[in-house]
Point group: none
Chain length 202, copies 2
DNA sequence: ATTTATACTGTATATATATTCAGTAAAATT
DNA sequence: AATTTTACTGAATATATATACAGTATAAAT
């Protein structure tokens, strides 16, 4: 990370102190008041310098939209929640992210990358109900019996994984649903990740 | 500290999440967006209620001038995990505590007091499987349909709660198990708390 | 029975705030 | 030597935001 000048350090310090004191970040005018500047542009330019050097992020247009970056302030992480939609990939693309929730990665045995919001009851006998959040670790290394996020073209599903040779079976945990048979080399087929945990908000 | 209503809790939760996510508090409009309100005054009145009850302070005239009170601010807590054993009470007595896990209380809509480690499959159709951790809020105020921790003498179970008059029914979510009928005044019967969430470590 | 609190919609507005533009000047980099 | 970065003042402005006011309706407290 790029070094800060003395003035920039003062501004960063001022932001941290202000947040500690008030609970929310300062405005440009607040920074001027604290540091004796007479023009809001003095603060503005320092902020842009801090942003450029990676110490803060600025949400444009938002008042007090200053956020200390991870290196700058130790924060408890937020994990994205992604909707399980029939069409569209469950990647971390912005349009698929439902929201972020604060969470400790360490809760489950494995680390994980995102939560998948479950739709439907195809895995109900595995205790996975509608609207549950399944913690997904992005990986294509899965074992028989794992609950995996599989993509076939645009369709994304959560199923038990079972492979033998070149043949792959995706097995629902609900008698009302059918098993899916695919070939390992089928175009458009992809294992997005596997379930490593679950949380349910009652 | 005065109790919050469900809506007020949701607003408080929303503020906490927003701060964790963005690093700064939400505007009235942000709260409306998150919770589906159509008027900024909906957020405003809730904020004033939260202020009056001492959960937040508001700096008048300042944008995003919301500050969580000390008691309100999240300390990442550790929450005890208690085994659901056939004999013995699921109280917080040391001998019953399996371990402590770090956890943010704010994850679920309601706060909660401990995790119950589920034994058996009597609630499997409710998506509650063996070894799941059910977040329990200690309370005896439960409603029909709630999943409750009930104690009958030394036996502790997790069941759906259904009462009519003096008669209480404890209903399993599994056809292999029988419903339990009890009288409200039965000696040794006690509602320990209710489920407000669930996590599963795969 | 009356008041107060809860839980909103909808409109309006003063002002708090981010942000751009026009300068000045010294220091650091290329 | 030329350019970029740092470090500001000062003024202007679009818009983000808090907040008041007028309603409606239900639940809880006194």
């Amino acid at each position: 990370m790029k070094e800060l000048t003395i003035q920039q350090k003062k501004v960063l310090q001022c932001i941290k102190f202000y947040i500690k004191k008030t609970g929310f970040p300062p405005t440009r005018a607040d920074i001027c008041r604290e540091l004796g500047f007479k023009s809001p542009n003095a603060a503005e330019s320092h902020l842009r310098a801090l942003e450029k050097k990676g110490y803060i992020t600025i949400e444009n247009g938002a008042s007090r939209g200053i956020n200390l970056t991870e290196n700058t302030a130790e924060k408890s992480q937020t994990i994205p929640v992604i909707g399980l939609v029939a069409a569209g990939s469950p990647t971390l693309a912005d349009e698929n992210i439902e929201k972020h929730i604060p969470f400790q990665e360490s809760l489950f045995l494995s680390d994980f990358d995102y939560f998948l919001r479950v739709k439907g009851l195809s895995m109900k006998d595995a205790g996975i109900m509608e609207d549950d959040l399944v913690a997904i670790k992005k990986t294509s290394e899965v074992r028989n019996g794992d609950i995996v996020v599989a993509r076939i073209d645009d369709e994304v599903t959560l199923k038990y994984f079972q492979s033998s040779g070149n043949q792959i079976k995706l097995i629902p945990a609900n008698d009302d649903f059918d098993e899916i048979y695919i070939n390992k080399e089928t175009e458009g087929f992809f294992i997005e990740g596997k379930s490593v945990g679950l949380i349910r908000e009652n």
